[in-house]
Amino acid sequence: MSALRWGRGAAELGRTLRCSGRPRPGTEEGTLGGLWGPRRSSSISLCEQDGQKDWGHAELLEVLEARVRQLQTESVVDTNTKRVQGAQPLQGHVCSHWEKKLEAERHGLQQRQEVLQGKRPVGLQSLTLRLEPRIWSKKLAGCLQHAKPEAPGNPSKEQLARALQAALQKLGTQEARQPVRPKAVETHILLLGQRLMHFLQCCLVTGHLPLAHHVLVTHHSKRDKQQLLTLDMYNTVMLGWARKGAFKELVYVFVMLKDSGLSPNLQSYAAALQCMGRGDQDVHIIQRCVKQMVREGFQLEQLFTDLALSEEERAVLLRALVKVEPAFSPPVQAPTPTNTSPLLREIYAKDIPVSYPKLHLPLETLQRLFQQQLQVELSTNVRVQSVEKAPQMTKEVTEARKILQSLRTQWEAELLRALQQTKATMASEAHDGLPTLYPFLCLLSEEELVSVLMQVLQALPPQGQPLLFLAHNLGLRVLNRHLVQQKQGGSYVQELSQHYSKYLQLLAANTQVSSSYLPRQYWEALGPPQAPQQQPWALAVVLQLGKELAELLVRAVQMPRSLAAPQGACRLIPVLYHVYSFRSVRQVGILKPHPAFTQLLEMAAEPTLTFETTEVPMLCPPLPWTSPHSGAYLLSSTKLMRAMEGTTQHQHLLEQCPPEQLHGALDALTQLGNCAWRVNVRVLDLVLEIFRAKGCVRLGVPPPRSEAPQPLQPRPPPDSSPVHKAELRKEMARCLKAAREMHSLRSEALYRLSLAQHLRHHVFWLPHNMDFRGRTYPCPPYFNHLGSDLARALLEFAEGRPLGPHGLDWLKIHLVNLTGLKKRESLHGRLAFADQVMEDILDSADHPMTGRKWWMEADEPWQTLACCMEVAQAVRAPDPAAYISHLPVHQDGSCNGLQHYAALGRDSIGAASVNLIPSDLPQDVYREVAAQVEESRRQDAEEGLRVAQVLEGFISRKVVKQTVMTVVYGVTRYGGRLQIEKRLRELSDFPQEYIWEASHYLVRQVFKSLQEMFSSTRAIQHWLTESANLISHAGWPVEWVTPLGIPIIQPYHREAKVQVKGGIQSLTFTSSVDTNQKPNTLKQKNGFPPNFIHSLDSSHMMLTALHCYRKGLTFVSVHDCFWTHAADIPVMNKVCREQFVRLHSQPILEELAEFLWVRFCSGASARSLKRSDLALIAKLQETLQSLPETGTFDLSQVMGSTYFFS
């Protein structure tokens, strides 16, 4: 009776089974529960009950079932399959030991088979790789096995085709039952998945495809590990086989994919079709595949539009498709539509002929420069002569260099040996199915890895470096080198050279190209070469690889205990020590070099510095930016938007947005990068003179180490008291600290000056990218125009322009601006002042070091000096108007943040105080705030407030300036108080005991008076803050789009700890990057107003840049400070004002509100939200509707304001 019922239940179950999916990672069902799909019909539960009664029966069945499975994989037809299937639900809990045993047996058999077939990969002789998966779904397993009755393990074509067909077939019933991907997956699962994915990808890249397949199969064959597998992983391996045209392996993966309950996506089909195209498969199979694909809702055209394919892959794919549909042709790539932003209409208008400026260099020179830069990038790093004074070549120095040399040879050999050992271990682990780092270590040649390690060892600072940093650095270096090497392979470099040389036709001075193309447009029109698809790694993987390499260093690098003794005579000691450092409650692992090693390095004083190629300016114009990840350096990858390592969400946004939307930003960045620079040689020589002597703190030239303070008495007398020793220690610590600070400043200056010296006779380019708010930065870190006064003074435009009628005046005004002496004077006043001090100017230019040294007293001494020299040459020229000037002249926005706020709010009072309204003299908002604060202080003092009385005579522009400036960018009262406290401490005659109270009082007053002066600013800030607050509380990061179309997302999330375990130390880092993570509400809220304003000022800058370019100007910027040639200042000023008016004539806040509404409010009802979330959304809607009111300021007045930017 029970047997009968059981039989019926089994039949029903069989049906359910066929259509039930398998749960994906993270669903609630556990491993075993998941075996049978998430849904159980009532009939099954009935049969389950029965099964429990007949336990003995079930056990027998279990054995039978397992045996059947074994036989299946051994390719033997078993007619009992169907009957036994029914027993499956009964033995889910008890079958494991049986399974294990049989699994082992089967594995052995398979190995034997593989040995017989001679399929073992080269280089891994002793180990075999699995090819055939264990298929869990009975039906699929059946098909696969039907397919090969006669030759086990070597199925014929049709049989494979049948298996594939079966796999395809099942889709129809499964379609609707796709398990929903769970939102939050546990971090460690995520990490494991990441690691596996990268492993597979890396295997593909390094040609270890069989290994990737093996690991995939191993994972697929174990239930608990199978959970990690995602569609992307199957697709990756499938794509690998497809590229090789290996149909059998591809079918295996496809069947596995189906078996795991996933449904193939476009990529899966593309891989399958590609493989068929290569293998010249039967039309029917292709037809079948295409049909199923279409049924799944994918169009054939999508294969060519949605996927990133190489030319060759497209051809193969097309070959397959044409077989089925001879009439099919891939869709012609539609030309990217032009940008439609009203702000950029003029730029992209086709009807107005324009001639964009050309570079001043002829084509031949530029081509030569390109070859130079290409050579540099191919050689991965640049060796630069240090500008440090060379040591005297004493016997010690030569000896030290000799020892170092011989040690390095030893270490290289030792590292190579250790690396090979590690690789061998990892390879064997990979064959056990673990996704180890083996393929990653194969990315670069062993010698190259060793050289990376040696470089890192060399650069380790004497005080050591956290293992985390070191690992990160090592991992990134390997990644970057690999990426460059990947581009080197194939024909990419050659194609690039050809295209670049065509592209230069547009830029070169001596060519005739219709130049109404922007550089990017021209580059795109040329049909640029396709760079290989490159995926950066997850941070955890980078760190893991880096840590492995760092451990290699610690293990392998050793030196004799005493360097003086003949080598080999004494014991070896490690060079690197893994120490823990204790910082507050944290414990940080540090790798520290042995002091003797540091001393040896210092003694040897080797004269070369090594830079990565991306740290050095480019020798030819950078590649134009054409997409979020292509542009700037020729081979090294650079991102359009810089961000914290591992952040991906803004990348997704950038990739999702239509390409034409980014054109404004791409073109602006390209143009900023196309400005040619040269070194101001005269200034450099003077700086070097001081640098090699004793330095000069006041002029920003850091003194050498020898100038560091020395403790008076290095060793205490033996009988001194503890208190005395404590004093001594304090002094020593002070000296040490000063020396450390000096050292780091000195090294920074050393890098900068060495690079300047290196580029002394070159023209060079600074490629630019932007941060997440659209603010632009030059990519090379050490030597660029963004740095200190000294750094800026070292650079000038490579291209000169005659001064023209007003150029000299602008030079003089610029000079006075740099001195900071006449801030409140009108332009005429400044000009008059320049003429008045002309003698000092000439003296400074002629005898900078020996004369009256007028320039040294300036706010920006080095730039002043450079300007003095330029003025001197110009006035002495026979015709100053014809004098060719290379000096960049600056125009600075006066409190630019407040300018944007005032314009947004049409706030007349605010606008007047930040020079949006024409006036005879420049307005100074800092002074005004100071005056207002002083006024209320006076009142308070009269009322007898003690602190107000104490402050009498101490309130100055200087005290409040920093706070006023930063309030716009969201400084809090706390931060503001610290700033003011610092200023007050600098005042020597201020009674120090009142500092706390006084700073507290002052910051309150500053905030109060700002609120009064910029009432609309506060209202807008408040509105922005409130919106961000509601959005982030509802669980989203704040997003918006700048007026220029750049999508922006605030990357502040609640941090999650991620741990990379194993080895000498676990590395823990906090990652705030995952999009699934909840936003950090405080940061989202506080960050929104300043970030929004920054996105506006960057838009203004980019607009000015683009329009200046149209007018043929050279233009660069340091955020709100715009640079051009002296002759072009009037044009730039006009453009700058026009664009400001244009920008703010847009309904910026309205558009923002609308965007936020669409993004966060609409569709909120459709999402199933909690009631509290709905309330938040309602409140957000309310906030977004009530925009802050605006004032009556007439924006067009900006056009007439002289001091808006000055």
Binding site: A459, G464, V579, F611, K730, A733, S747, L1067, T1068, T1070
Partner: protein, 396 residues
């Protein structure tokens, strides 16, 4: 020099490093959050936050936070009387100066004065000051009242605190002269550690002690402190209590003779709020740690603490060594020494007669000192320690 990219840290802030050197008493972000939460709960009714405060919130440090913590004081006369006996001991009362930290309502102060002691009341709560001043007038005893917070005095990171008063200035005002280390105890201090910051304060004091800074510039000052159960047990733990034995146990026991004077249940003390009101423990759900006993401990710095090989010049290396050893407490000493010192660890362990396989749990506090001195004495190399001042965040 190669690859300068390594010389300067890359442009990323993996938060493991944190904001550089923080002080021992640094405040964490979490505290900040807590405080705001509390403020909202506590004051929102009658202190509506002005609009402008939305984006410029006061970020309180540890200092301002503690103000809203209730403070514990001696309130029972019986206890006060008992304490007078313990504190003054057999000395003739008038001969020695006694600093009482945060006397609050002044019950103990009164008792001490009555016994004829010379007392300086260091009170941090402004509200108690008038009362203490009046006490002086009434009793006409030798009492001085100073408004300062002893436990936050001489912050090691020079942060601004209120009321601002350094020990140097305080002792100068009191006319205390610095005594040599080898001399006797120049003065005694009595106090109850604020329950929430016990550990931090113990750390700060032990740093002061080894570096001869703050109050210890004036000699071997004796502390009489009420310490909560947990910290007390840790402080006095030896390898016999491996679960409690920790860095602080070693450092304190090496530095001081620790004598347990008495134990008192927490309920014998009164809880006061900032405004100076006695809190009913019933009303406010007492914090967990308040349910403990408090132990009165006398900590007298050892005359023999400083030697040729351990002194205020190199104490930080000693600290680092102990911290390192307890960092992975199950790892053999040998492993730790390999990371800590370039001197052959085998030789050193042989010198102090230790097995290479032994862990910290076999090392008594004085053994650490011996180990340290053995390494300091070794003549083997010029460089004895891998340690570097930049490794730890001791702020000078």
């Amino acid at each position: 020099m190669w690859g300068p990219a390594l010389g300067l840290p890359p442009r990323l802030t993996l938060s493991v490093l944190g904001p550089g050197r923080c002080c021992i008493l640094g405040s964490g972000a979490s505290m900040r959050k807590d405080l705001r939460g509390r403020n909202r709960r506590g004051f929102s009714d009658f202190h509506p936050q002005p609009l402008s405060d939305l984006d410029c919130e006061e970020s309180p440090s540890w200092v301002s936070k503690s103000r809203s913590e209730p403070t514990r004081h001696v309130t029972s006369k019986k206890l006060a009387k008992a304490l007078v006996g313990t504190l003054l001991g057999h000395y003739r009362p008038s001969r020695q100066l006694l600093l009482e930290c945060n006397p609050g309502p002044g019950i103990l102060t009164e008792a001490l004065l009555k016994a004829g002691a010379k007392v300086v009341a260091l009170e941090s709560g402004k509200t108690f000051i008038p009362h203490l001043e009046s006490l002086r007038k009434i009793l006409d005893g030798e009492l001085q009242v100073v408004h300062c917070d002893f436990f936050k005095m001489d912050p090691r990171n020079q942060e601004l605190i209120r009321p601002e008063l350094s020990s140097h200035k305080l002792f100068q005002n009191l006319g205390v002269k610095a005594a040599a280390w080898s001399a006797g105890v120049p003065l005694k201090i009595f106090g109850i550690l604020p329950s929430k910051y016990e550990r931090k304060i113990l750390w700060k004091i032990v740093y002061d002690l080894y570096s001869c800074a703050s109050i210890y510039r004036y000699g071997r000052i004796e502390l009489n402190l009420f310490i909560g159960d947990r910290e007390f047990k840790k402080l006095t733990a030896t390898p016999q209590r491996p679960d409690l034995y920790h860095v602080l146990s070693v450092l304190w026991q090496v530095a001081c003779e620790i004598k347990i004077l008495r134990m008192e249940h927490w309920s014998s003390f009164g809880l006061y709020t900032e405004s100076g009101h006695l809190e009913k423990s019933k009303r406010r759900d007492p914090l967990h740690q308040m349910h403990q006993n408090l132990h009165l401990v006398r900590m007298t710095p050892r005359k023999t603490l400083f030697t040729e090989n351990l002194n205020p010049i190199n104490y930080d290396i000693f600290f680092h060594m102990v911290k390192h050893c307890f960092g992975k407490r199950n790892a053999p000493l040998l492993h730790h020494l390999r990371s800590l010192s370039t001197v052959d660890p085998g030789d050193i362990l042989r010198q102090i007669r230790r097995n290479p396989g032994e862990t910290v749990l076999r090392m008594y506090p004085q053994d650490f000192k011996r180990l340290f001195e053995a390494i300091e004495q070794s003549e083997e190399t010029v460089f004895k320690w891998v340690y570097d001042e930049s490794l730890d965040d001791i702020v000078i």
